[in-house]
Amino acid sequence: MATLTTDPIQVYKRPVGLTEVHSHYCPGCTHGISHRLIAEVLDEMGLREKTIGVAPVGCSVFAYKYLNTDYVEAAHGRAPAMATGIKRVRPENIVYTYQGDGDLASIGMAEIMHAAGRGENITVIFINNAIYGMTGGQMAPTTLPGMKTTSSPKGRDVEMAGFPIKMSEILATMQGSSYIVRRSLHDPAYIRKSKKAIRKAFETQVRGMGFSLVELLSTCPTNWKVTPYEALQFVEDSMIPVFPLGDFKVHPEIAKLKV
């Protein structure tokens, strides 16, 4: 006889990897989504108690308050250097950095390049929202051509300010990197794909296979001066053509993995 269950099934609840505090992010900011994905992945892999995160400078400077793992705060852009030190001293721990585009692609360019070049066994979560969010919406290295920001009020002029830097494509050329992919957070289906990518990035580190990075196309409704929903539309319509989604470098061992 089948057992009768009348208890409701809990389909989804807030992961324990997130602390029980109200975040300071603006309404609709996709930083919250990426925090949640990291928390879910670390919970699923059972790595939360031995993970050390490195927080950047930027909007996500308070990531240590929201993610329920050990955390350290790095100087602006120096998170990969700090993560290198932590991972070399404590190879049994899982070390990841969480960086925005101003932190990683601008001031931290040297650190990320050399960490990838050395093939450091760390994971980098790179949040690309094409703008400096915390300081008030200035032009970042990843700002789209023609995009209006507070420091490019007539739109990014490529003759003066150059073209956006595509970090995933650059880092995929590094011999030390094992898993370099770009995903987007503009739609529930793509959010699920992003979660799988984050899982594979951490699996790369667990297997000791070298540098892994997941670039997540993200939004900044406040500084783009649009509603949260229009910001997601902007990612789909304008950012994805410039920053195409895809796997830029995947080690064959990781490609075989089913998550």
Partner: protein, 80 residues
């Protein structure tokens, strides 16, 4: 007969960004304009029956404010 489900929105986290409203495939979420959260936002709420408990609102929620429940399928009671 679709599966019956429901959501609970935590006022501590919800910021009324409306992303769950735009993502809901059956369009049963709205902002509750009769209430304010401690931070001064109108939280999301279920406006009518029809929720299937698919969990898409929870996937897109930036603040992990939504808990999704689903009613279990009724087990067959043997007739003999």
């Amino acid at each position: 007969m679709p599966v019956k489900g429901w959501i609970e929105v935590n006022d501590l986290y919800c910021k009324g960004c409306e992303l769950c409203i735009t993502a809901c495939p059956v369009d049963v979420i709205q902002l509750d304009y009769s209430r304010l959260t401690p931070k001064g936002y109108h939280p999301a709420m279920l406006k009518s029956d029809g929720c299937t408990g698919c969990g898409i609102c929870a996937v897109i929620c930036p603040d992990a404010a939504i808990t999704v429940y689903r009613e279990p399928k009724k087990a067959k009671v043997p007739t003999a």
